[in-house]
Symmetry: C2
Subunit: 327 residues, 2 copies
């Protein structure tokens, strides 16, 4: 079975999925849907671009539609809407709004008989899976998630909105001492400040007041005020040269103990180091597209998360081959 894929939205994630699907032996990229003028979008693979207004015509030509919009406004509307027409996968990542999004998508997907997989990526996604597995195995324990070192798009955008800032790149960094204390099984209670620092690389507009910009960044509520923040002013050339990538990563660590007196300590750790956050996220999305297609072919419907999907569904290999080569 070849899984026919459509992509809605041709940003970083859409482009990453284009690559992942093109490289998957069991998948075929049918087209990219856009809200823009299709003539203005050139795809890397040469696959055709279609205006989203014509999407309904593809109802029987696509097995899974990949939704590549943003979590703030796009996906809350798009995922329930397109789950009425297609099996869909999204990367909805606003943790606090997952229950509401799940309910909306589940209703639409159940009514239309489609499978919708939401909140796929690495956090939520692979990190969530590792939290769940580790909690189920070591109920007497404590878990920690650290992010970085990596670029936070949201924090970079927040800096760019400050008057006098021409461009900016923000890195979230785990505090090494905190990570080591967790790894040693000390179960520390860590404040926001103790877990992560924020490193900002900022290009000023001509005539801008550096001290004022630095103060505005460091005192910005939610984004920076609760963190130890470092600001480096650099040229646009240096930013382009040294900070063009979108690396990210992080770790999920759970420590816990077993034995009648809690005498044996254990550590479970999952680490990601990613040169390209959107390309890795896209690879996870592509694997779950395979799962969505298979679940749908078995007659499943409704909203699913990574918690609800057996690992074997992500692989293009048979159960027999998986047991023989990976178990």
């Amino acid at each position: 079975m070849t899984i026919r894929i459509g992509i809605l939205g041709y940003g970083n994630i859409g482009k990453g999925i284009e690559w992942a699907v093109t490289n998957a032996p069991d998948m075929e990229l049918v087209c990219v849907f856009t809200r823009r003028d299709p003539q203005s979008v050139k795809t890397k693979s040469g696959v055709s671009v279609v205006n989203v207004n014509d999407i309904e015509k593809y109802k029987d030509k696509i097995d899974v539609l990949m939704l590549c919009g943003g979590s703030a406004t796009d996906l809350p509307e798009q995922t329930p809407k397109y789950a009425k027409l297609f099996n869909v996968v999204d990367s909805f990542d606003t943790h606090a709004r997952v229950p509401e999004h799940f309910a909306n998508v589940d209703k639409a997907a159940k009514e239309s008989g489609h499978v919708a997989v939401i909140s796929v990526g690495w956090d939520p996604g692979m990190f969530s899976l590792n939290r769940l597995y580790a909690n189920a195995i070591l109920p007497n324990g404590k878990d920690y998630t650290f992010w970085g070192k990596g670029v936070s798009q949201g924090h970079s955008d927040a800096i760019r909105r400050i008057e006098g800032v021409q461009d900016a790149r923000q890195y979230t960094c785990p505090v090494p001492e905190a990570v080591e204390a967790v790894r040693r099984g000390e179960n520390p209670d860590l404040t926001v400040r103790q877990k992560h620092t924020r490193e900002c690389y900022v290009v000023l507009k001509e005539g801008a007041d550096a001290a004022k910009v630095e103060n505005e960044i460091k005192t910005m509520p939610n984004y920076f005020a609760d963190y130890d923040t470092t600001v480096h002013f650099i040229s646009q050339e240096e930013l382009n040269e040294k900070h063009a990538g979108i690396p990210h990563g992080g770790m999920v660590i759970r420590t816990g103990c077993t034995g009648w007196n809690g005498e044996n300590k254990h550590k479970i750790e999952y680490d990601l180091t990613l040169d390209s956050n959107p390309e890795f996220t896209s690879c996870v999305l592509a694997a779950y597209a395979r799962a969505a297609a298979r679940l749908a072919s078995e007659g499943a419907s409704g909203c699913k998360t990574v918690f609800d999907i057996a690992p074997a569904y992500l692989s293009d290999k048979s159960g027999e081959e998986l047991r023989r080569t990976m178990l």
Copy 2:
């Protein structure tokens, strides 16, 4: 629903499951079955001990039977046999014989309408899961499994069988340089010798020839000849004092690349550091007992591995709570 558990075999794994089940809010330990005289077995929790010849009487009193025998001779016979009477979970760990074991167990479990989960633990088990997830996400890559630092029971036993040896403990250790090369994404081709070293702590019998014993260890085929092996002769007191534990662990690492020119590298790493190998393994077995009970209550039957079971089945929390707290 309280899940009623029976344990067959009261060795290290059986004792670990006794602890894990006693500590699980949704499980109840019914009894321990033994091939020995039940009077001779005292359980830590005080739960009753029953001769295995009476096991059939417990057919409707137990939801999941945990099979705690060895993989060499016990489980190939026990798992198909008891899958005819109960839902079962085992820790069969002879990787090469998994396909055969799966087929035998699947037949028995399907005919009797039970769920049998095989090869549960950390390798096979959690390491297998991480190999599968990482391969599905990064198809262009290479993976590596390192074990240790930890006690290998099989290698310790092999040393103890040498003439002149009174007691022994063998540690398997990953080679740090190999691990670092893998983490850097160099995709090295590693020989057996380049991946692990073997450290042996040996107590000699009175009058034994140390040089002869050391030579016999280092040249033993399969076990030691292909590895850089270090032998330390110590007293029984020192062995008892410093090497009484059964720690283990290891790591599964996959590195791969994405992008049209393979320009972005990624690393996925899963690490375990365990004070007690059997107690951690038992915790994994207990979580999969929960999954077996739930799958059975939904009408599933047949043989399953960790690949076939959705992660949410391992947790005592509802789907709604999992999405709210861990996604």
